[in-house]
Amino acid sequence: MTRFVDLWVYLSGTPLLWLTVTVVAYAVADAISAALKRNPLANPVLLAILMVSCLLLVSKTTFPAYFAGAQFVHFLLGPATVALAVPLHRHLPEVKRAFVPMLAALVLGSAAAICSSVLLAEYFGLGRAAILALAPKSSTAAIAMGIGEKIGANPALVAVLTVMTGITGAIVVTPLMNALRFRNYAARGFAAGLVSHGIGTARAFQVNSLAGTFAGIALGLNGLLTAILVPLLLPLLLK
């Protein structure tokens, strides 16, 4: 037993343990999602977060201790955001062709995401901290946290709400679009990427490559637009 404790003390002090746990949990979650034929409810991000969170609570590990290892995965969000320029450049002909519908959907969708979250949060009587943290929730996590810092929200809470929005969108987008009888996969993908950023984009790529492409474009454009719109719209929306 003392040996096990010694080993635990050693391993939990290195970043390697929680880095490995994060990657393994995601690999397992992704395999479960594949085995369930990519059913939207078996969202790999949700499954991986649940597995890791349970492990942290059971082992009484604090989040900062976990993050010391997991930060290496988290850090890649920045370079991944830069990397979005590549699919955007590659699909420039399609983007140009669908330029007008995309631009209109981008502006209305982005504004709808920000306004609906702030107004609903006020309607439900949520506190100021939650309202501010909800405003940038449709942009991708790295961008949302940056916006959060600028508007005085807690970046850690912003990150959690952003990830929750991503998972929610990835789960509801397919049944919702089927219910609305939308068969334009460019529009479906664009909506998934705009509202649920990288997690929605990953889901759209599971459905079909065209939807994924437009989701990636929407994710990049909405990251940009949310960063501009939130500081402009927030003073008008807050009571």
Binding site: R97, S117, A156, I199
Partner: protein, 124 residues
């Protein structure tokens, strides 16, 4: 891969630097993305593997959200108090924004006659 990593990090660093130097409202990585897009459009001699490495990074994009999502363990107090209402706001706002975006896109695309080829392609 090394040279592609250099390109991505340099773009991000340049983006962060510009954002801070000029107090821009945009986060550094977004400016980095615009810089890389500009470099691609200007046909600057970027390393060949830039596209490959970027695709590889984006293929596992959803994994990169796991550490931030695990941050939920730190917010359990707030979620205990406001969790139900927060979830309600997120679900309703997500459904509203998804519907507004898809309706706008599909309606204008249909009116303009674009997007038909995408639909055929997707059906195949």
């Amino acid at each position: 891969m090394l040279h592609a990593v250099v390109v991505l990090l340099v773009c991000q660093l340049a983006g962060e630097t510009l954002a801070h130097a000029f107090s821009l409202p945009l986060p550094g990585p977004v400016i980095g993305m615009v810089l890389l897009l500009a470099a691609l459009l200007l046909r600057l001699p970027l390393p060949k593997e830039t596209a490959e490495t970027s695709d590889g990074l984006l293929k596992h994009l959803s994994m990169l959200f796991v550490p931030a999502g695990v941050g939920v363990v730190q917010q359990l107090d707030l979620l205990g108090e406001e969790g139900g209402r927060l979830l309600a706001v997120i679900v309703l706002s997500t459904v509203i924004a998804l519907t507004v975006t898809a309706v706008t896109f599909a309606t204008i695309a249909k009116y303009m006659g674009v997007g038909e080829e995408e639909r055929k392609e997707a059906a195949e």
